[in-house]
């Protein structure tokens, strides 16, 4: 079932990137705005899916590392005037460092206990962000994170004069595409293969000679680092870092995006991010009861399409192919 050859040979990351590049030129200001948000969310959910779909770990506190990335990048850029080229990777490293510390304790427990422990640590991060006024701005957050210097994008041949939002969009999709390429490779690497064995059967994985906890911790750190990158981009995009980024409902939201798209496919979660952001902006024009709609979507998903959108599409495609193909084949 999961061995569908469909599009295996197509470099999807490159294809999607090449399409996305045209958004500022062809779409409205609002399309670029949504595009930036979708791209960042896509990176966030793919980082989560390294745990969920690849390693089989349910993290209910992934927003912690997103938030840490946002604050780290924001504090470095705003308070200390560090340029983006340094602050951005630093945000990933700091998020990964926290993932290492928290993960060390979390991987000692399994299944639901693991999920609850990740949630508990995320809430501790939230409390720090919410209360440490001097550094994080507390309840008001850390507004006014400066945009990175991006004039060079406009000076590239053929791009013409772009607004800062367009430039940041292009930077974002470039960073997200690079991150996708790296994560895709990690999943296909022997390391990624080891993670899938842990997902399928941690007991057996230990008995082919894997230190399961160490591998889980490594996956946790990598996922945390990339969540940190997503957070760093989001802090700049949303013009500030706020304690809400770390709250448990944010962690739930990414989980919803991830399974909405389908955790068994690399491109499932980004599709989920796209669907949810799009749905949100459609729905909020009609009603203020967006949480209600989201809840109903979630119920339909849980009871009707546990494989998510991409899972459902692939299953449909498979059925169609079987119907169209002569029996004997």
């Amino acid at each position: 079932m999961n061995r569908v050859a469909l599009g295996r040979s197509i470099p999807w990351t490159l294809v999607v990137f090449l399409i996305a590049v045209w958004v500022p030129a062809l779409g409205s200001r609002y399309d670029t705005f949504l595009g930036t948000q979708i791209a960042i969310d896509a990176l966030f959910v793919v980082s989560l899916n390294l745990l969920l779909g690849t390693t089989g770990l349910v993290s209910f506190g992934h927003a912690a590392y997103f938030g840490i990335g946002a604050y780290a990048c924001g504090i470095l850029m705003k308070t200390y005037g560090v340029p983006f080229v340094i602050a951005f990777p630093a945000a990933a490293l700091i998020a990964a460092f926290f993932a290492l510390i928290f993960g060390f304790f979390c991987v000692r427990l399994s299944a639901l206990y693991f999920a609850m422990l990740t949630l508990a640590f995320a809430q501790i991060v939230w409390a720090i962000c919410f209360k440490w006024n001097a550094v994080t701005g507390g309840d008001e957050g850390l507004p006014n994170i400066p945009y990175p210097k991006l004039d060079w994008i406009s000076s590239l041949p053929g791009l013409g004069d772009l607004s800062i939002a367009d430039e940041f969009y292009l930077l974002t999709i470039l960073m997200v595409a690079l991150s996708f390429a790296i994560l895709r490779q990690v999943i296909r690497s022997p390391f990624g293969r080891m993670l899938t064995t842990i997902r399928d059967n941690p007991e057996r994985a230990a008995f082919i000679g894997l230190n399961v906890r160490a591998y889980e911790l490594a996956a946790f750190v990598v996922a945390g680092g990339f969540a940190g990158l997503a957070g760093a981009l989001y802090g700049i995009f949303n013009r500030g870092a706020f304690a809400d980024y770390v709250f448990w409902s944010k962690s739930a939201e990414v989980l919803i995006m991830t399974i909405l798209g389908g955790i068994n496919y690399f491109w499932g979660p980004p599709v989920g991010a796209f669907a949810l952001v799009w749905l949100n902006q459609e729905i909020t024009s009609y009603t203020q009861y967006w949480p209600f709609v989201l809840g109903v979507v979630l119920l339909v998903l849980l009871f009707g399409f546990p494989g998510g959108i991409v899972g459902g599409l692939v299953a449909g495609y498979e059925r169609l192919r079987r119907m169209l193909r002569p029996r004997h084949a």
Partner: protein, 293 residues
């Protein structure tokens, strides 16, 4: 500092603790028996508060009929719990934990918005029941009678819960269900009924605590998310799935919060998170929990 002030700080902490225990006990029971983390537990609590307010409006806005209103609210939430478990949650038992987690989160979203739709977004308020409106002068501190009532109710519920779990036939089945569902099935016990019963009891407790909080706190949207975080901390500190752990977790939470505010006023709520961090680092499975891996 005079002892009377320490006493009143202690009493304040204990009131908070017993309220939290009323709420967290239901969360802990459902987790202990069914291995479901019910995020909607806080929402049941909030709906209990709204229902209590509504019932007070119907019965008597001046507050004499607070008690029947509170009971009515708790029963209403119990019924809601039964409906949710029978119609929806039970179809997810065989599935991965993630789906159950997200299911209860879907309830948070849907029921939270339903409450906004019905009762609006403003702040609602219920007056103290006249019987308990006064305060008692105790060791030089003013102790509101209503808080005293909560401080007595909490341990009573704890004791009652413990007796039912450990001294009754139904309790034995419930505990057995928490160890091995298949074995219980084989013994011919009806696990489905036990689960429904457990969920209903837990919803009742949530509804009751929501109703009982209305005379001291305001009823507002978002109080569900606020309380579930606190209940969650209590359960994690005490140890997931441990009933007494939840009780002592609440007591510790209340006192750390109360004295944290007295001693380090700048940090206020951070003290309990720091407590949680310390406990998780030493015992990730909580004070009374068992290490599982």
């Amino acid at each position: 500092m005079a002892a009377s002030f320490l006493f009143s700080q202690f009493v304040g902490g204990l009131t908070t603790a017993m309220f939290l225990f009323l709420i967290a006990s239901g969360l802990s029971l459902v987790f202990g028996v069914m291995r479901v983390v019910n995020f909607a537990h806080g929402t049941f609590y909030m709906l209990g508060a709204y229902l209590a307010w509504q019932a007070v409006q119907w019965l008597s806005p001046t507050g004499e009929n607070f008690w029947p209103a509170a009971l009515l609210a708790a029963l209403g939430i119990a019924v809601l719990g039964a409906v949710v478990e029978r119609l929806l949650l039970r179809h997810l038992y065989g599935r991965e934990e993630l789906y159950q987690l997200l299911f209860t989160y879907a309830l948070v979203l849907i029921l939270g918005d339903a409450a906004k739709f019905i009762w609006g977004t403003g702040q609602l308020s219920v007056t103290r029941p006249p019987v308990l409106a006064a305060s008692l002068h105790l060791f030089g501190a003013e102790v509101p009678l209503y808080n005293l009532f909560i401080m007595i109710l909490g341990p009573l519920i704890a004791l009652g819960g413990w007796l039912v779990l450990n001294r009754s036939g139904a309790g034995r089945l419930v505990r057995a269900a928490s160890y091995d569902r298949e074995m219980l099935d084989a013994l011919g016990a009806n696990v489905g009924t036990i689960y429904t019963g457990m969920f209903v009891v837990s919803a009742f407790l949530a509804g009751l605590s929501g109703a009982l909080v209305t005379p001291i706190e305001s009823v507002v949207p978002g109080m569900d998310v606020e309380i579930i975080v606190q209940a969650f901390i209590v359960v994690v500190i005490g140890g997931l799935g441990s009933f007494w752990g939840t009780f002592w977790g609440s007591v510790i939470y209340g006192q750390v919060l109360s004295f944290g505010i007295l001693i380090f006023p700048g940090f206020s709520l951070f003290s309990v998170f720091a407590l949680m961090a310390v406990i998780l680092i030493i015992r990730p499975w909580g004070l009374f929990g068992r290490p599982i891996r």
